[in-house]
Amino acid sequence: QGAEVFAAKVNIEVQWANQMTIAATELAGGRIRTAYYDLDSLRAAVDPQAWFRNGNPIPPRKIPPHSLISYYTDANNRGYLAPDSEIATSEQRLSEILEYTRSVPVEQAEAWEAQTKQANQVFLGVKPGSLVSLADRKVFEPTHPALIEHYSPEEALADHLR
């Protein structure tokens, strides 16, 4: 709805997007990605202030369950697990289909690159497992190797509960 008049250049991350929405965002010169948040990460992301106030460490974002992995690895859906080259070709194809030009200046692409979260991060620029102290305005991370391994495992954990 309103896709014809959408003109805001945004860098947005959603859970699901249909092709019209993706086209409208990219026509306006923005960037859209679909990302998966498991329940714990979602609770943290929805109200970060309450999460930090309760003294909870930042949870690691889990990989989507088996039923949804195919959605989030698909470049056509701009999934966050899809490789960048595939997404670029998909963007070009969509622009050809809908007859608009999709060109991103290099500075803009680099700026977006700096704003990209890793797959296991809930918040940009903060490692999972770290504690945020709002009173001290500082962030603390654990030193025990078992915890470091738990929060940043080599093999990402899938959200099998969903």
């Binding site: 620029g125 903060v126 991370e141 654990p142 030193t143 025990h144 078992a146 915890l147």
Partner: protein
């Protein structure tokens, strides 16, 4: 501050893992006590400060105060918001802004009458323009002329001079917002 830190850190005691017995070189009959009770190790962790750009976290938190009003020179705004004229226009009335620097337009949905066919209530949607000081009736006249010129059909207004409020039936909120901006308030 130290107390807050310690209470926070103490809540992060984690992980009691049982020691794996399979890799012990002793047989169970040589040391029965070791194998009778599972060893428990605890991973109490210490924390170290991590270098993080605090701006990344600050933008996650909601604002605690209303920011000052943007200047008109800050450029056209994507939402169509306009700053009020400074000094205010020379009209017999003045329409103030809400504390969020927005035009004082509020929606109201009043119950109208029962529809005997569907046995549901029908509702009427009104737009209230508040915060009017000065000659409210002059504002009402200007408003009516503006809306009827835009819409082409008459609109009903209810003027409450004491409260400085005009309720309008038959016009969308966006149009009343256009009127407020057009007048320079």
């Amino acid at each position: 501050m130290a107390k807050r830190l310690s209470t926070v850190l103490s809540r992060c005691r984690v992980l009691q893992s049982s020691n794996i017995r399979y890799f012990s070189s002793e047989k169970p009959w040589e040391n029965p006590w070791e194998h009778a009770l599972p060893k428990q190790s605890e991973t109490f962790t210490t924390f170290k400060e991590s270098p993080v750009n605090w701006a990344n976290i600050e933008r996650l938190l909601p604002r605690s105060t209303i920011p000052p009003m943007p200047r008109a020179t800050d450029g056209p705004f994507p939402s169509g918001w306009q700053a009020p004229q400074d000094p205010p226009p020379a009209l017999p009335y003045f329409i103030g802004r809400t504390r969020y620097h927005l035009p004082p337009l509020f929606l109201e949905r009043r119950r109208d009458e029962l529809n005997p066919m569907t046995m549901d209530f029908e509702y009427v949607e009104l737009v209230a323009l508040k915060e009017i000081s000065g000659d409210v009736f002059a504002c009402d006249v200007d408003l009516k002329n503006f809306l009827e010129a835009e819409l082409g059909h008459p609109v009903a207004t209810y003027v409450d001079e004491l409260k400085g409020m005009i309720k309008v039936k038959g016009a969308p909120r966006k149009l009343l917002e256009k009127f407020v901006y057009a007048q320079g308030f």
